[in-house]
Amino acid sequence: MNSKVTDRIATSIFYLIAATIVTVLVGLLGYIIFHGFSKLNLEFLTSPSSSFRAGGGIGNQLFNSFYILFLTMVFTVPLGLGGGIYMAEYARPGRLTNAIRTCIEVLASLPSIVIGMFGLLMFVNLTGWGYSILGGALALTVFNLPVMVRVCEDALRTVQRDQKEASLALGITHWHTIKTVLLPAAFPSILTGAILASGRVFGEAAALLFTAGLTTPTLDFSNWNPFDSTSPLNVFRPAETLAVHIWAVNTQGLIPDVREVADGSSAVLIISVLIFNLLARWIGSAVHKKITASK
């Protein structure tokens, strides 16, 4: 067999693999969206779910998902950024740094159900909050943080060394160099990482089962006082998210239209994650253009 033939075979194998992946993805997305499509209307998206009768919506679940996601990112991004900056710029190579890195990697590979159990002990029982949005967001922070630290560290490390040297050689301090040269250059990758992490958080169910709970109290969407028990903004109320809802109706749903609700919820979930991914690319490149003054 000559090298030309080998080359051709290798090329076609890679094409085949790529085609398989695309087919599976498109098939999966198409299947979920096709089945859930009939449910994609404003009423389904905004009305509260029902426990027994058909025709319930996912309004509260959708709100809960976004609210928990928002809180999680509020906790994760600053912590992850700080950890990433430390690991990339300040940590001296040595035993301590290796130990920290091992911890981060172990934490990153923890199954989310284990994080859920940890969250139950820490944020539900120990704090005495019971099932709460805050507990869920904190559990998801634990789940998300190692990935975020890693993303920030890698993003900072991939900034070319000569950029850092250029700034330091101009008599600029290390911290100011990080702030004005490294972080702006790393920003698009950090943003992409953060938005991809959002997708992970948005679809997470296991870690929330024991922390944010399986129920949502009756919410009054005209009451925006975060300290009121019927307010959607109250962080100490239990909250069932979309992903948890899919799991719940499928396993213990009593409503007659279980299938439709599950299909519709899945479609909404996957479309949301898709939007996160598209946003990640779009905002990332837009910001990159803005700060580099390129056209």
């Binding site: 850092k164 580099t292 003054a293």
Partner: protein, 275 residues
């Protein structure tokens, strides 16, 4: 601007006057028994010589001979390399730059550096120059405009970029980028410029422009340049130092080094017999 954070009163510094008497020319840097190590690697060995003010000093030698290491030790860029340490002295205005008490941030403003590969920030041309100025508290637009123009003029780049100051620096050619890097360094008003093979990544025309620029700049600045290009060294430098395996083999007037070197190794190197 204070380079030394806490000056020791009792230590008797070497005065500039004594150097002038010795060499008859003002000295910018006095290097005394300088040793630099990277871990176990002894990269620069017992180097002593003095660098003249407002002149171009070329550092030549084969790759890995320690000339870049030496250059980077002057503005303490070697601090970034884990395991790098040095002993001896680099005396600048009565201060030993090797000391732990040196404020490297202030030092790097006094002694600017331009690297081999042009490394403008991915910002606009204007912001490349104002980046460090703003850090030093210059906020007034008028003042910044003046310094930007002045620096670009000094770097012989103004006429080429004056109409596109707010375009990305990455849209410039390699040679222009390198002159922008020089302009950015000049904006800090340094007294010494360290150039680490500034023209080796450029085409011959850009190279010639950089050389012209260096000839122009030496009227105001002390320039130390590392180069692999023998012709460049002979064209632009007043003094040449030849390094080999971390040792300063010969240091003399450039004419002397290139026409009548006193060491066999120097002759072998400049005639291309090794390196």
């Amino acid at each position: 601007m204070k380079i030394v954070m806490e000056q020791k009163k009792d230590s008797k510094p070497l005065t500039k006057q004594s150097n002038i008497e010795k060499e008859n020319k003002p000295v910018a840097l006095n290097i005394k028994k300088l040793n630099i190590y990277y871990g176990d690697n002894h990269a620069v060995k017992d180097v002593s010589f003095s660098i003249e003010k407002n002149a171009v000093t070329a550092l030549i030698g084969p790759s890995g001979c320690g000339k870049s290491t030496f250059l980077r030790s002057i503005n303490r860029m070697n601090d970034l390399i884990p395991g790098a340490r040095s002993t001896g002295g680099i005396i600048y205005e009565d201060v030993n730059l090797i000391g732990d008490d040196i404020n490297v941030v202030a030092l790097r403003k006094e002694i600017g550096m331009v690297f081999q590969k042009p490394n403008p920030f991915p910002k606009s041309i204007y912001n490349n120059i104002t980046h460090a100025l703003k850090f030093n508290g210059i906020r007034s637009k008028k003042k910044l405009d003046v310094i930007v123009e002045e620096s670009l003029r000094k770097a012989a780049l103004w006429d080429e970029v004056k109409d596109r100051l707010h375009e990305s620096a990455l849209s410039l050619s390699g040679g222009q980028q390198q002159r922008l890097c020089i302009a950015r360094t000049l904006a800090m008003k340094p007294s010494i410029l360290l150039l680490d093979e500034p023209a080796s990544a450029l085409d011959p025309i850009s190279n010639a422009k950089i050389e012209d620029l260096i000839m122009e700049l030496k009227k105001e600045y002390t320039i130390i340049i590392v180069t692999h290009n023998m012709h460049q060294a002979s064209r632009i430098s007043d003094k040449t130092a030849f390094f080999l395996n971390g040792v300063l083999v010969e240091f003399d007037q450039t004419d002397k080094i290139f026409t009548n070197p006193s060491k066999k190794d120097t002759e072998d190197y400049i005639t291309g017999r090794f390196g």
